[in-house]
């Protein structure tokens, strides 16, 4: 799995600063295609900032960071991004499928006129239509993609937003709390979709504050806690000793009779830095 023929993300001694304060420092991690990587830590530790750094939207304060072989921000068209929980209020009268479509060409200037587009380049319109159907089918949203996004449940919105992030066939997928506020079946459904995407060679980076729903799938974990960043294979990092030291509080990692790891007592609410 870690055969890094061309790594998607290479971070060496990366540090982040927000409003002049150091958020975290010393992050070393190399991510390869096909890996599922979780970025973990308490709220405000800098997980979302790390994703924004990968996108070139937040400056790298120190160290070197390379994304898809280039400076951050240069290859964003090969990156799918799902920001932290966006919810659309009921007044947003935009269909789900329109939102997904923005992932294809939303950044391009001009105003699309559907009728003219079909007339001028029917093949391209058909290809785009097929791609939209395919990606919506893939996240299991075909049943409701034509409804206004504001009228959907949180889980339905989240699936369509993931479809939006996937629609350009990214090589790197950055997801900020994708499982947050989803019920258990939806969490498992979304996690399964993400695992299948990774199996096609995409690097999937998932920010989460609770590692448990992801534990079965992870190739690497990055912990950002209290200004310190630590990356590695889950079995090396997710241990009672390492996590207790990192959080400065007793954290227990136990194995269930079914062979699954569970992290207990992780102080999620603790906020070491208030910046977000």
């Amino acid at each position: 799995m870690t055969s890094a023929d061309s790594p998607t993300v290479v971070a060496a001694g990366v540090s982040a600063r927000v409003a002049g304060r150091v958020l975290f420092g010393g992050l070393d991690v190399t991510m390869a295609g096909g890996q599922v990587v979780a970025v973990l830590g308490p709220n405000g530790a800098g997980k979302s900032t790390f994703l924004r750094m990968l996108l070139g939207l937040h400056p790298v304060a120190g160290g070197s960071l390379e994304v898809l072989g280039d400076r951050p921000g240069r290859r964003n068209h090969d990156i799918g991004y799902l920001p932290q929980r966006r919810s659309f209020d009921p007044s947003v009268r935009i269909r789900g499928v329109d939102l997904v479509r923005l992932g294809i060409d939303g950044h391009r200037w001009g105003t699309p006129v559907p009728f003219l587009e079909r007339l001028l380049d029917g093949d391209r319109a058909d290809r785009r239509r097929r791609r939209l159907d395919e990606v919506i089918e893939r996240v299991g949203a075909a049943r409701y993609a034509g409804r206004p996004i504001g009228e959907m449940s949180g889980g339905e919105q989240q699936r369509l937003l993931i479809a939006q992030a996937l629609v350009r066939r990214p090589r790197l997928l950055l997801l900020d709390e994708p499982l947050d506020s989803l019920d258990l079946p939806n969490q498992q459904g979304v996690a399964a979709v993400l695992r299948r995407i990774a199996a096609e060679g995409v690097t999937v980076v998932i920010v989460a504050h609770d590692v448990n729903p992801l534990l079965g799938y992870l190739d690497q974990v990055v912990y950002i806690v209290g200004g310190e960043a630590l990356a590695g294979r889950p079995e090396a990092v997710i241990t009672t000793g390492t996590l207790s030291r990192l959080y400065g509080a007793p954290v227990e990692v136990v194995r269930t009779p079914g062979g699954r790891l569970v992290v207990v007592g992780q102080p999620e609410a603790a906020s070491f830095h208030a910046a977000h």
Binding site: L57, Y81, R95, G103, P148
Partner: protein, 306 residues
């Protein structure tokens, strides 16, 4: 308050609505001032319908209203300085839009961002307008037409100026359309995809200022939302398809403006009232239809597909 506007020529031949459509049209269009009013109304409505659809999408109707009130110091300032009112409208609308964008705290979502800033700009605009009025007392006599609309004095030149501005504004909007839509619906992803979200928002506010300056010539400053927001709100209630919504908003704005003008002509009552009433009736009907459809959808166990 001074008496509400009167149509010229009414003493000679009072227009009367008949069942003969051709005759009605003939009556309606027999005077140049009405032909000009219809042309100018259509131009303003097209611009407002398009730009207003984005205002509704972005939740910026308060900014639209504020940019309309900014036309008050614009017009009174122009009167005081002896400039054409249109110059004052545009200068102040653009300055107001720039001020809102500049003072707004750096949030990425317009809804979150600037209602307090918008309120501050609105207060300052009204104060400034009042100040110009005290400097130039003559302005007060036409205040009601300014606030509630006047379609009387539109000349061919006015129509041409309006058409030219509208063409520029709509051209810019067509260029901006998709990234503006992206930045309005989903600003954080738009930013990551390379859309200059802040610049696009500023440009949009400038366009909004222009549309408001244009529409307030006719609907008056206080009723500008009738063309800018009401047709767009009706259209978004009726359809969630962006292209259809935009087109419908345009069509409804033109229809509203024309129907309002015709009603004003035949009833000898102010156009601003009629334009607003026609638009508002349409909005209420659309909301009713959408509520009925939702109820039907729930009963049939099927979700409402727009």
């Amino acid at each position: 308050m001074p008496p509400i506007e009167r149509w010229p020529g009414l003493a000679v031949a009072a227009p009367r609505l008949t069942w003969n459509l051709q005759r009605d049209l003939h009556q309606l269009l027999q005077y140049p001032f009405m032909r000009h009013a219809f042309a100018a109304g259509a131009v303003a409505a097209v611009m407002c319908g398009a730009i207003g659809w984005f205002a509704v999408l972005r939740g910026e109707t308060y900014a639209a209203h504020t940019l309309a009130t900014v036309a008050f110091p614009g017009a009174s300032g122009a009167a005081y300085l002896g400039l054409a009112p249109l110059v004052g409208y545009f200068a102040f609308a653009v300055a107001g839009a720039g001020l809102i964008a500049w003072l707004s705290p750096p949030g990425r979502v317009p809804r979150e961002r600037h209602s307090a800033t918008v309120g501050a700009v609105q207060a300052m605009a009204l104060a400034l307008g009042f100040w110009f009025v005290t400097l130039y007392r003559g302005f007060l006599s036409s205040l009601s037409g300014f606030l509630f609309g006047s379609f009387l004095g539109v000349t061919t030149d006015d129509v041409l100026v309006l058409a030219a501005t509208a063409a520029v504004a709509l051209g810019l909007l067509a260029l901006l359309g998709r990234p503006l839509f992206f930045a309005s619906v989903d600003p954080r992803v738009a930013e990551a995809a390379g859309v200059p979200v802040r610049a696009v928002s500023l440009l949009y506010l400038l366009l909004l200022g222009g549309a408001v300056a244009e529409a307030s010539q006719f609907t008056g400053v206080l009723l500008v939302l009738a063309l800018l927001v009401v047709p767009a709100a009706t259209a978004s209630t009726l359809t969630a398809r962006p292209a259809a919504g935009l087109g419908l908003s345009l069509a409804l704005a033109v229809g509203t403006a024309w129907a309002g003008l015709a009603a004003a002509y035949f009833t000898n009552r102010p156009a601003g009232f009629w334009i607003t009433s026609v638009g508002f009736a349409g909005y209420v009907l659309a909301r009713g239809a959408s509520a009925a459809r939702a109820r039907q959808g729930r009963r049939g166990g099927r979700s409402a597909v727009a």
